[in-house]
Amino acid sequence: MIQGTTRSRIRQQKLRITFFGYFLVLLFFASLQVISIVFFTQGFLLSREVPDIISNCSDEVQACLVPKFEKAIVLVIDALRFDFAIPVEGSEMFYHNNFPILYELHTNQPQKSVLLKFIADPPTTTLQRLKGLTTGSLPTFIDAGSNFNGDEIDEDNWVLQLYNHNKSVAFMGDDTWQALFKKYINPQLNFPYPSLNVWDFHTVDNGVLENLHPLLKDPQKSSKWDVLIGHFLGVDHIGHRYGPNHHTMKEKLNQMNEEIKKVIEEMDDSTLLVVMGDHGMDSTGNHGGDSSDELESTLFMYTKKKNFQMNKQKVKANAYDISKLGTNYRTVNQIDLVPTISLLLGLPIPHNNLGFPIDELFESDKVLNQVSYKVVQQINQFRMNSNNEKIIKNQELNDKYAFLISNYERFSGNKKYTSDLISISKSFQYDNLEYCKSLWARFDMKFIVFGLSLLALSFVFILTYSRSIPSVRVSTMSFEFLGSVIAMSLLGIVLSLSIYIVLMPHNLMLRHCLAGGVGIGMVIGFWAPIMDRFSVNWLIHQIFDFFIYNFNSWSFMGLIYLVLHCLIFASNSYVIWEDKMASFFLSMFGVCGIISIASNTKTPQESRILGILHCLTFVVVTRLISMVNLCREEQGDYCRPTFEVTWWSVLLLHVMAYFLPLVIKSFYRLTNSYHSAAPLWMKSGFRFLLFMNATYWTLEYMDDNGIFEKLHLSTSFTHFLTNNLIKSFKLAISRIVLFISLVLANYGWSRGPLCVKIDFSNPEPNEDSKSSPDDSQELGEEKPTATILGYENIYGSSYFLLVINFAAAIMLTSKPLGALSIAGLLVQILSFLEIMDLLDLRRNLISPIIFGLLAYQNFFSTGHQATIPSIQWDVAFLTNDDIMFPFTHINLVLNNFGSFILVCLAIPLVILWRVPPTNKPIAVLSQVISITTSLITYQTLLSLSSFIFTAHFRRHLMVWKIFAPRFMLNGVLQVLINVVLIFITLWFGVNKVLSQVNRIFGK
């Protein structure tokens, strides 16, 4: 007895040490992958050097003009797409014909107002747009990531120029401005409002209006400001939440219409009014990409003096053509606003501006000629001050500039040539803009290649680690790996540091140098012990062995899937249709499973029928899930989106809350393990949480569709109901669900629930000779003939409870159809596990690949696509009204990557499902490591392939639309999968379940 306990304690300790070794090795491996991804990203995502020269009026070239306007009101209506502001005949859409004032003024008072189509540069996110709209420069893609903590702007811009010229800037609205321009805004007239809560349509807008009108009407207050900036967010938020075609959009646009009318009444004669959108929105109401709907926005300028010229030629040439939603309407670039505003207000043009003054705003061609000459000089100054040799030495542009200067000096007095001079200036500006665009789309090939090679090396290592070396050998090598990795990365640091100090490579920063050294050191460190133990020949032999001995039709299928999935990144069409491809592969697996099971004569009839039923379940569920989709823009007419919150999807949530626990229960029943912990989890916990989820989304649906308003209660009560009661109820539900599922249930699980039952009623001799004596020792001697129900699936049944915990949280953060898809994922996983057990695919290549494909399929069917606009930002505010560090981010991660998290959690089940307790837990652990690292291998191969092809297609037309977002998704997934597998799956899950079972049964 004593000997037994010591032995088991020693074994327990050994298990812990082995586990720790694995944990650290994988942690180091993850950091190697992170380093390689960071290198690739740094090389690929564009960066632009920003000259920090500030223009001023004392400069000879920049000598300021006399201001034409004393004051200006700049009103930004976020996401005001161009067709919102023009009349669209016969359109019944909520977003059409509800904001008529701009076009009315444009046609009725052509000398006082002008309405133009305003083309944004991608990326169409508010922060980037504000930068472009004030500096006149092009933002780069990398800036897009900082939208959520907008950093201060240090480039020359017209808000800064206003400040430098002692003008007082008043601001109200979206706090992105506050983040960018805090220093330049008059602190007494600064009214920022939180911008990112897309569920709130009115706070920002009402805040703007509250502060705007007093500043206009009150003569005392109106003398306090020179430029007033207001930024409305309602339209954008409605778009994000409901899409453009929703009745609230009509109300919002009508409100904007009234407010603009009021502002026009209240403003005085020397004021310029600018109303504009910063970007548009696509048909789902989102933005960020570069489709024409997202780029096309509105610019409207108005003054009470007759100051503008409506060029008659343009009217004749039908430049203001509103037919076909204004497709042929005259367009100006967003950056053109910058020189225009600067010149009209008598400010120097910001140094980095690339735009050109807008024709209509200068009363005659003569003035226009003057200002365009000025802008051309400014652009040339920017070119000459650039720290990029290529810009300075561009001969074509230099010649054009010299030609223009000489001609201007000769002909500027002559009226005949003014329009020619203007067009030369325009072409100079245009060429320069295009040149800068092409130049800033520049890639650092050194970093790209280095990152790729590190990733490729990490792939070769993880492939060897997971599949070539026998898993039992791997378990003994952990500490060798650790030693050599640490030593080699230290050596790498020292070497790279000395290289940096001695050679001083001029275009390499210290951190890059160090990271590179660590990366190379780690790769060598990982390979040293392998090379020490095995030869290259032996490893190659292993691969041949795989093809000769372990190769069957299932591994062949796995290989085909692997190759095809990697090859999709070679073609933009396949990247677009990845969602269909994943479902196609999965259904094919299921159908092949049916054939295989049906023709397998060795298994008894009963389990064959059961197996066929599992396959059928798998195929049918896969097919049903594949019908839930969100279309990306490129899929065009071939795709019909079904991912909407509808009454039936909400109803199905309730049905699911009842049935899903029953389905899982039936799977547990198959292994006779629906005992003790399982009913507690399923019947009380999971069903309760699912019901709460359903309630949440029911309230959400009712709230969205104005069902409370339709009840005809008194208005104040309705208001109270929707704004206070329902809102706090929803917050409470979501917080409770997340707390229970992520904290409470996981704590409970960590105490080690087992789904077994000791059956005393059956006193016949136990067939399992191993279990009964062990058991009797634990329970005392009085019932030596007890059987343990659920013995054969002891690891799996307990471990799956952990998967359920996370599934409940993920289902809350997914929208109704997404939650249904996640429910399908659970069923898919369970039926795959049964199929796998029957077909003996535990060690087969296909298992991790099917798991990976399951994750991808459900990523798409939970309403996501590999594009930035498809991120469901609105779920960020599920648990909190505004952004609060962990909660908002947790929601977004759970929503976006829920399927991947679940699959990463469930992958050890391939080894653990239907396995009776063993007294060799280390062997089980090493198999679990092998299967989890196989999943990492799969994802690494995908990342590698997508990185290679994205780098290869870096000049492709579709790179920013299709390839780059997909590569970013893969990069994020690579990190996420590593983190989830290491910390949650292995450290929390597998470790607990193995040591718990070992403690009780391992003797």
Partner: protein, 233 residues
Amino acid sequence: MPKQKRKVKFDHDDTEDQEAVVVARVPTIIHKWATIPYHLPLILVGMFKFGLTSHVKQTLVKGYISLICLQAVHSYILYINTVDFPDSSSGKKHRKKNKDNLVLLIASSLVLPVLMSPAVLAILVLLGAPVSSHVIETYLLAAHLSTVVATPLLVTFKLNFANFVSVFKSPDLFCVVCHHQTLSSGLLALVGTWIGVLPIPLDWDRPWQAWPVTLVVGTYIGFFGGSVINLAL
């Protein structure tokens, strides 16, 4: 030809003593060059000539009618070139010398696939064929697929389902399938249909990327190619 026959038998002998293995009772085809479905590429080319890419449905119907007619001729050629598996256990009634009702056999081999096609349609939908639209096209694909694949199989096995199932139960399934002309062509036709999906997503905007066209092409080429490749084995 005899070489192949011997090989199949050899494999059986090899495994027979280990356990009671089901023997693949596969009929043998004697003149493989004669049983190549020469009509399939003809029909395919004909369908393209008659505007498969512009009027998908109509052309598929026309093609199906001609397929049925030519399949009947092919069935006859296949029938006279088939020698039943000389096995006593499966009963002697399927010996070639026994007078089968030729007309009934060919007729039922042609009708059964038509009856099967709804089931094939269901499988296609399960595998991802569109549900809400293009149902008729998918059904026509199912009809073509089942007639091209199943008719020769039914004729070869003389409607003996047990013999057909025995193929799947044999331990060297792939060997048996690869060395038999009709079986391997049938498998390649299915693979061809599977691969036929792959070019559809490409953004080339060609008319032949319309829904079932590439799959039908895959089926025809798969079956024809399979029987040609089998000559070499």
